[in-house]
């Protein structure tokens, strides 16, 4: 088959694609993905430093390295940073870079909206963190329970920074949600039916549905909070009849789906990595997909298991307890399907694979302690104790972050064209596993010994001293492991081995492309005949019937193909700037907020009339 010449538009030329301005105005999903990744990893460092400060303070009883109020700020900002500014955007980095490549598309459905999501996320993250320089960082917890967040009990600007910053991040996430669902549903290559989509793409789809349905609820919760604080309403003021419990309902209606927003991308990555390095297809892919969907659905019906201690009454406790146990079933299914995937395979222990295997092992611990909390009598002990801290760190570090690391080692060669160093990678893996177990396992014991979470200090004599010291040592081990990762990343970027197009013998469409892929991704739209299109091309179909013949038919190709690519635009960034000015403006003067709103409107109009 003679390859036709590819003609790209003038704005895709080499010189137009270099320099900082080209990054600021880019609408290329791959560049946006890289920017998401770089920002997320920078915030990872910030959140990590906060974690180290927390662990240093708690290393021994009765320490006062940081004050009580600043400690509460550290706890709040550590969680906010790691959830909204690290795990979510790092997942978004992979959504952006990989989803179009995996479904055989040239870009996402709305490239400029995609740029808008990124800039809004970045401005929102910087805005929340700027609170450190403006008097007070938020200190009421990442869950911001009313009425501690009221102006009476949190008079500083911290809570305003937090509420308005989260609104901004919500706008970014929602825009990305609409964009990616449209992309995944609408822009699949010919032949890629829903059930032939890679599992990572499926999990992305589920996550985006969770985003668009859950974020509006925290939006409302935060609007009511901001109205209380800025305009003197009484939504959460019990003295005037307001109910602090309303906040908890709205927050956890968002907050529990958020947990799956954090973990499902990692599950998707693991479902891609395990089959490739075991050289087998994913065992029971439909089961894995449907269990992901089920987790997403049931995830909306379990929020009150975060509220067993609030006294909702036995009926609600029973219902939410049973629903929570129900959600353990699809999660268990996934674990066993992954085990069956590697069973009977031919396993290559690359770093990406090690992290995926580590995910199975560590996530199981977090999942099982989650089953314990599903039982309210036990939860009444665990709630707000260090046992819960142990639980969700096994889910989020042992689960989400190990999964994301696996993704980094797996796709780094595709993104940069260079392999990451495997020896450093293995050191990184083992130091992570050791570090995370030394840090978080003793926290189970602390919880059983009755240590509550979010305490800035504690007394000796409760049996907590040893385990706290242990956790602090572990935290510094984790810091070293992260340092090793960053060294590896930079070293490999500078002089890593050339990767070639398909270093891992991959199965999905992204490995058919050059590393890094060309700006327009695909010369010709690929045609897909199974869930492993590239594998079939290399080894033949492994499904009973051979339907690869479809591709074989020769097509009459023109000598030249003109590819339409969207031109760069700075309007997305302008509109993002308007969004952050609108939200942040309320803290300065309503007039500033109005200016922000006008910027949004003017920017949107200009954007609409721009040639596509």
């Amino acid at each position: 088959m003679a390859s036709p010449a590819i003609v790209l538009p003038e704005h895709c030329s080499e010189e137009k694609l270099s320099g900082i301005w080209s990054w600021i105005t880019t609408v290329d999903h791959k560049r946006i993905g890289v920017m998401y990744g770089v920002s997320a990893l920078s915030f990872f460092v910030l959140g990590g430093v906060e974690a180290l400060a927390i662990r240093t303070q708690l290393a021994m009883p009765n320490q006062s390295i940081v004050g009580a109020h600043f400690y509460n700020s550290l706890v709040t900002m550590h969680a906010t940073t790691m959830i909204f500014l690290m795990v979510m955007p790092l997942s978004a980095a992979f959504f952006n870079y990989m989803v179009p490549l995996m479904i055989g598309a040239r870009d996402v459905a709305f490239p400029r909206l995609n740029a808008f999501s990124f800039w809004t996320f970045l401005f929102g993250g910087l805005f929340i963190n700027s609170s450190f320089f403006f008097g007070e960082a938020p200190a009421a917890g990442w869950f911001g329970y009313a009425n501690l967040t009221s102006i009476q009990y949190s008079p500083g600007p911290g809570v305003d920074f937090w509420a308005l910053g989260l609104q901004t991040l919500g706008v970014a996430s929602l825009a990305a949600g609409f964009n990616f669902i449209a992309t995944i549903l609408n822009m699949r290559a010919p032949g890629m039916s829903l059930m032939r989509m890679p599992v990572f793409v499926w999990m992305t789809l589920v996550v985006q549905f969770l985003v668009i349905l859950s974020f509006p609820m925290i939006t409302v919760a935060l609007i009511l909070l901001s109205f209380d604080r800025m305009f003197g309403t009484n939504f959460y003021v019990p003295e005037a009849g307001g109910d602090p419990l309303l906040w908890q309902h709205l927050f956890w209606l968002f907050g529990h789906p958020e947990v799956y927003i954090l973990i499902l991308p990692a599950m998707g990555i693991v479902s891609e990595v395990l089959p490739v390095f075991a050289r087998k297809p994913l065992f029971g892919a439909p089961f894995v997909i449907f269990s992901g969907i089920l987790i997403g659905f049931v995830g909306f019906g379990v929020w009150s298991h975060h509220m067993f201690t609030t006294g909702l009454g036995p009926v609600a406790d029973t219902a939410f307890s049973l629903a929570t146990m129900l959600i353990a079933i699809p999660t268990g299914v996934k674990i066993f399907n992954w085990l069956a995937t590697i069973w009977g395979g031919s396993i290559r222990f690359t770093t990406a694979m090690l992290f995926a295997l580590g995910f199975i092992s560590m996530f199981t611990i977090g999942g099982l302690s989650g089953v314990m909390h599903a039982s309210p009598p036990i939860d009444l002990h665990h709630q707000d104790s260090y046992f819960v801290v142990a639980h969700f760190h096994y889910v989020l570090y042992g689960g989400a972050i190990l999964g994301l690391f696996s993704g980094i080692y797996y796709w780094f060669p595709k993104i940069t064209g260079k392999l990451m160093d495997e020896s450093w990678g293995k050191v990184h893996f083992w130091s992570s596993i050791i570090g995370l177990n030394v840090t978080f396992f003793p926290m189970h014991f602390l919880g059983m010994q009755g240590m509550p979470r979010r305490v800035y200090t504690y007394e000796g004599g409760f049996g907590w001293d040893l385990w706290n010291l242990c956790a602090t040592v572990g935290a510094f081990t984790l810091a070293i492991s992260a340092l090793i990762f960053f060294i590896n990343l930079l070293k490999s970027l500078a002089n890593g081995e050339q990767a070639g197009n398909d270093p891992w013998d991959g199965a999905t469409l992204e490995w058919t492309l050059t590393s890094p892929p060309p700006v327009h991704n695909f010369d010709l739209m690929p045609k897909v005949t199974s869930e492993r299109p590239f594998w079939d091309q290399k080894y033949g179909s492994t499904h009973g019937h051979d339907d690869t013949t479809e591709v074989a038919e020769e097509e009459q190709l023109p000598a030249e193909i003109h590819i339409h690519m969207p031109p760069a635009s700075y309007w997305p960034m302008v509109v993002s700037f308007g969004v952050i000015t609108f939200f942040g403006g309320w803290m300065i003067h309503p007039a500033v907020a109005v200016c922000g709103a006008l910027t949004v409107i003017v920017g949107t109009v200009a954007w609409t009339f721009e040639p596509e």
């Binding site: 609409f178 669902i181 449209a182 549903l185 609408n186 010919p190 309403t233 939504f235 009849g241 193909i561």
Partner: protein, 206 residues
């Protein structure tokens, strides 16, 4: 389209795999999301409904509501849905004059609704219902205020669509734009019917 399928796939993105244009699909998703927003606001209103009797001072809903006036504004908004349907029908037929006419009329009816709301807010405020007063005031202003903001943005949007019909972008793009604006407009109407029922019509026990 299936006959020249391979050609399309060479040059451009293949046709939408889901059968709905990207913009329309994204807007349906946006509406799903907006449903959750209004759902949460309405749930807040309902959970505080009647609580103002126990805390704080009046005025209370029964002192203020004039169902007659609000019925007229509701009718006005419903009529705007009719004109919106006519606008979409007109552009499907390719009748530019009628498209502009019905779009303009829809925007006008929308603006009248916003005017009604402005009158109502002013009137209630002068009667002593403050945003910061009792829970009824807070929940009422926030819920209907958010709806009013939606209508206002809708009016701005309709006027923008109207403006695009005078530019050189015609055909498919404009058609889709009108249809999507229509989706939004009908959604805002439906939400108002829910709000009207729950806030104004459902009986308040004194």
């Amino acid at each position: 389209m299936s006959s020249d399928h391979s050609n399309v796939s060479v040059h451009e993105h293949p046709p939408p795999s889901f059968g709905v244009p990207n913009l329309k699909l994204a807007f349906w998703l946006f509406l799903a999301s907006d449903c959750m927003l209004f759902g949460s606001l309405i749930a807040t209103y309902l959970s505080y409904r009647g609580k103002d009797q126990l805390f704080g001072n009046g005025p209370y809903p029964l002192d203020l509501f004039s169902v007659e006036v609000t019925t007229i504004s509701t009718f006005d908004l419903l009529m705007s849905s009719v004109t919106m349907v006519l606008a979409v029908a007109a552009i499907q037929r390719g009748n530019m004059f009628q498209t502009r006419l019905w779009l303009g009329l829809t925007a006008l009816l929308g603006a009248i609704f916003v005017g009604f709301q402005g009158y109502e807010f002013t009137h209630f405020y002068l009667e002593g219902l403050k945003l910061q007063g009792n829970l009824f005031g807070s929940t009422f202003y926030v819920l209907t205020g958010f709806h009013g903001t939606h209508v206002t943005l809708g009016v701005v949007w309709l006027l923008l669509v109207l403006a695009t019909t005078f530019t050189k972008h015609k055909g498919m793009v404009t058609h889709l734009n009108v249809e999507v604006a229509g989706l939004y407009w009908h959604f805002v109407d439906i939400v108002w019917i829910v709000i009207f029922t729950l806030v104004y019509l459902m009986e308040y026990t004194v």
